[in-house]
Subunit: 165 residues, 2 copies
Amino acid sequence: MTTVRRAVSADRERIWEIFHAVVASGDTYAYAPTTSREEALALWFRADTATYVAVEKDVVVGTYILRPNQPGLGSHVANAAFMVDPPAHGRGIGRLMGEHCLEEARRLGFRAIQFNFVVSTNLRAVRLWQTLGFQIVGRLPGAFCHTRLGFVDVYIMFRPLDRAG
Amino acid sequence: MTTVRRAVSADRERIWEIFHAVVASGDTYAYAPTTSREEALALWFRADTATYVAVEKDVVVGTYILRPNQPGLGSHVANAAFMVDPPAHGRGIGRLMGEHCLEEARRLGFRAIQFNFVVSTNLRAVRLWQTLGFQIVGRLPGAFCHTRLGFVDVYIMFRPLDRAG
């Protein structure tokens, strides 16, 4: 049984462990594999950002953030980012957090969610977001320097938050 | 005769005047029309950002910024933003800064430039960037809340920086 809730201060250590494990592979996020604990937590707990964790048997196994993608006249579109602890992959934690995020974004009054940087070779993520109603609305040629594959394309994905969704 | 150079501290007051005049209309930038001087200058002079001004007869008539669009593994793609003092529109200052920006981005080693938020109804900007080699690579439905027109689409524009460009 996995639950999703707002993160608290006591979650910071596990969030850092997961962040570090995810960016270390250099295949899904732009954050440098050498990103420090301080930098990672600063961006994951930014003032305009709501931070969540997925918990299994009292252990944090995933985390996501939700925030406005732009200031002022663009702030009705949310941005979100998701990380699952690598050993916990394949158990539906990403999907659970994604569904939670859609609900939260609606509840907070956002009209849409935009992902700015979905690495095209991260097929698991691309497919997950497509099954949750996101569409690829843009393609950035060679915008990600993949640790193993070199320059690969990046997708921008977008999902309006209709009432019926 | 208009020249473009790096901004210095003494340019801050004119940059703020231009920023405020541009965002006040609420038709081109996401920054709220109520953005404060302090917020505006903080983002225009961010640590990772190079700031430039266009100068006519010792008066700053435009400004632009250039910076990495993403951290680490995405930092080979630049982002830039341009503002021309409204009374100086139509004299080619935006184009001059755009051409300067292409040179600077190449000089600094960027492989491409990406604009994340070109308001689709800002035809002057869309056309200018197209004539400078940018392509629309994505469309964000209703992502800008235009002060007069309501929700309108936003384009993502992208230009690789080949040697021949």
